[in-house]
Symmetry: C2
Subunit: 400 residues, 2 copies
């Protein structure tokens, strides 16, 4: 039976519940006699290479419990692709601290890191198990029904689009459109989740633009005009990574500032939402606004989906339970055992498969017109996001 120390790290962008997974790992380690000490990597694998480890056992139980409701990646994170030359150094740090249990919370790249490190250790005869804990707001991880972090980010998006839609409806005499941009470069899950904001036909959003479908400018302007004709205003939600059919990002633009610096595309800070805003302004001469919240949707601890938090915590715990059984090379995965009522259980996926693939939205979740989602998607997403706040509508009976 494997005994020794454990290490846990957080990789890539955060979610509002990635610290709940961290809490699960640490609390479970404290319960397992095979795990002597639990260490934390400062700034993920990049900090590990620098031997920047912290002592999780020195943290008070209340601090660890408080991770469940704290945003950010409390250990610090990184985006670092391992080079072949890094492995001897990694093994040296593992040996120095007698680390036999390796836990890393993250997305594809993180799973790739565990996969490669775990294989290297085996080849070198160093006994260590490596288990991944899934995480990404983008929901594009293969091998799991959904990823911890998605439900909460989706909740942030749906609440924002719902509230801004009510505002836009009421301000239609001043501004005629509102555009909300979500993160998610190649997968549209978060943009899609905004559809949960809609409870009546006139509600926001009216148009959802997904990276899974090429952007068609004429089609888009026609859709905007139709919404405007019907409702007097228009709500658009777009994924940041939408592209023209030739692959050019919609965000591509040249920006010249007052010092005559010219920059192109993302470096210039332009966004898809800004370009859509300009298209509508140019085509119809209408006023509107665009909203680019960026990482705010990854850290809104006060807008967390409770189901998401619970699942994130459970995934962290399960990773430890698997590891002490000697299971390695796996990522904890979520299975949906029932849709309505929603029920879930824990399973595993192969790290090698998770690392190699991504999961864009399937066709059955995208409306045939490519500008909205289907009922099947709403059924998929609703339990993950949880009930949204309900607001009143005036009857608005005209005075005779």
């Amino acid at each position: 039976m494997l005994k020794g120390n454990a290490v846990v790290g957080q990789g890539g962008g955060p979610t509002a519940v990635i610290n709940a997974s961290l809490c699960g790992v640490i609390e479970a380690c404290r319960e397992q006699s095979q795990v002597a000490r639990c260490l934390g990597m400062r700034f993920g694998i990049e900090g590990f290479l620098e031997d920047r480890l912290i002592d999780m056992d020195a943290e008070a139980p209340e601090t660890i419990a408080g991770l469940k409701t704290t945003p950010g990646s409390a250990l610090g994170s990184c985006r670092y692709k391992l080079r072949d030359t890094d492995f001897p150094r990694l093994l040296e740090v593992l040996r120095r601290h007698d680390i036999r249990f390796f836990f890393y919370i993250g997305g594809n790249d993180t799973m790739d890191t565990i996969h490669r490190l775990e294989g290297y250790c085996r080849a070198q005869g160093y006994e260590m198990v490596g288990v991944g804990v899934p995480k990404t707001v983008d929901n594009d991880l293969f091998g799991t029904d959904h990823t911890p972090g998605f439900g909460s980010a989706a909740r942030y998006v749906a609440i924002s689009v719902k509230q801004a839609g009510i505002l836009a409806r009421d301000m239609q005499r001043v501004d005629q459109f509102v555009i909300f941009q979500t993160v998610g470069r190649s997968a549209g899950w978060l943009a899609a989740a905004s559809a949960l904001a809609k409870t009546a036909e006139e509600d926001a959003p009216h148009i959802i633009l997904l990276p899974e479908r090429p952007f068609d400018r004429e089609r888009f302007l026609t859709d905007v005009e139709r919404a405007h004709d019907r409702y007097g205003w228009c709500s658009v939600v777009c994924g940041e990574g939408i592209t023209y059919p030739d692959g050019t990002p919609v965000s591509a633009a040249q920006v010249t500032d007052r010092f005559s610096n010219v920059e192109f595309g993302a470096m210039g800070g332009t966004s898809a939402a800004m370009m859509l805003h300009r298209m509508i302004g140019n085509a119809f001469g209408r006023r509107g606004e665009f909203q680019v919240c960026e990482s705010l949707q990854m850290c809104a601890a006060d807008r967390v989906s409770e189901t998401d938090r619970e699942e994130a915590y459970a995934c962290g715990r399960r990773a430890v339970e698997l590891a002490v059984q000697g299971i390695t090379g796996k990522m904890v995965a979520l299975r949906r055992t029932s849709g309505d009522p929603y029920r879930w259980s824990l399973d595993t996926a192969e790290l090698s498969e998770v690392a190699a693939r991504a999961k864009p939205m399937p066709d059955e979740f995208i409306h045939p017109d490519g500008n909205f989602v289907t009922e099947a998607f709403l059924q998929y997403a609703r339990p993950l996001v949880g009930p949204l706040p309900d607001y009143i509508r005036l009857t608005g009976k005209p005075v005779a």
Copy 2:
């Protein structure tokens, strides 16, 4: 004793609690025997000119009560400057519906509308009282300690900057700065309120740029570098309306899209935050992001300050109580009767004075260096925003 019908409207941009004021007006009207019926203007004075009135008495009490927690401007709003030629038409609508009590919830322009209409009616011998209910997230109304709506928008800003700051600290190996832009073209109250997010020196925000102070590019870059040296990252909050010493908006830029359309400034959708982002990128080659939430900070019903909601509701009620006493030409105002513990009471201000002036941040609330706020401001703002969520910090004891 004046008897007849009442009308209530909402003008300008909304706040998260403008419907709480509406609720206060309607509920108080229902209690006053002098008020026969309460009517609502669809889309403010613009709808009133079109005789678009709705019957508030046809709404269920639960619907009216639900206004307290519903974002948007439930009656619909407008931005419409009255022309001299509009007054006869307004009087005609007033007479037709026997309106003797005129309530309008809004900012400077709204107060100007009531003031002029109330004067016109008096001159024409039509007996009507007009009372204003203050509202603006910008907090720049003269004659009141603060405006309903500010506390909730400030809360949205402070929560966002706090959460994004934790994320940025933890992601400093990937992105080194984060910029949050608030609304408020000429007054920096909302940008200033982000300072409430800070509980330790390293916390966000590190730099606050206010429209009350000219923007100095070199100074800004020096401040960014200092924060980066100290903390490894930098959080900047800016008001949307910051300008260079010559009055040029920092947001001014030329944007050329792939169709070679060129636009300048706000029409091109550029923002101050985007230009600051580019400055830092150009100067230091660092990565970062900017967040432009626009009207999301005016409608976040789930992030309302309870004090703000309570005050907004009370202001609505008080307008009716004043009107039935025959008081006219006034705006309800908030007085701070005690700072700590915070206590408030209701008072009035002259519509004519409110309409003519604005209230930028006073010098004693702005740090002498012009890049942050003072303790006096924090004491002013804290009770209006309410307690912010508390998050844990790891001790982070290094492993020997």
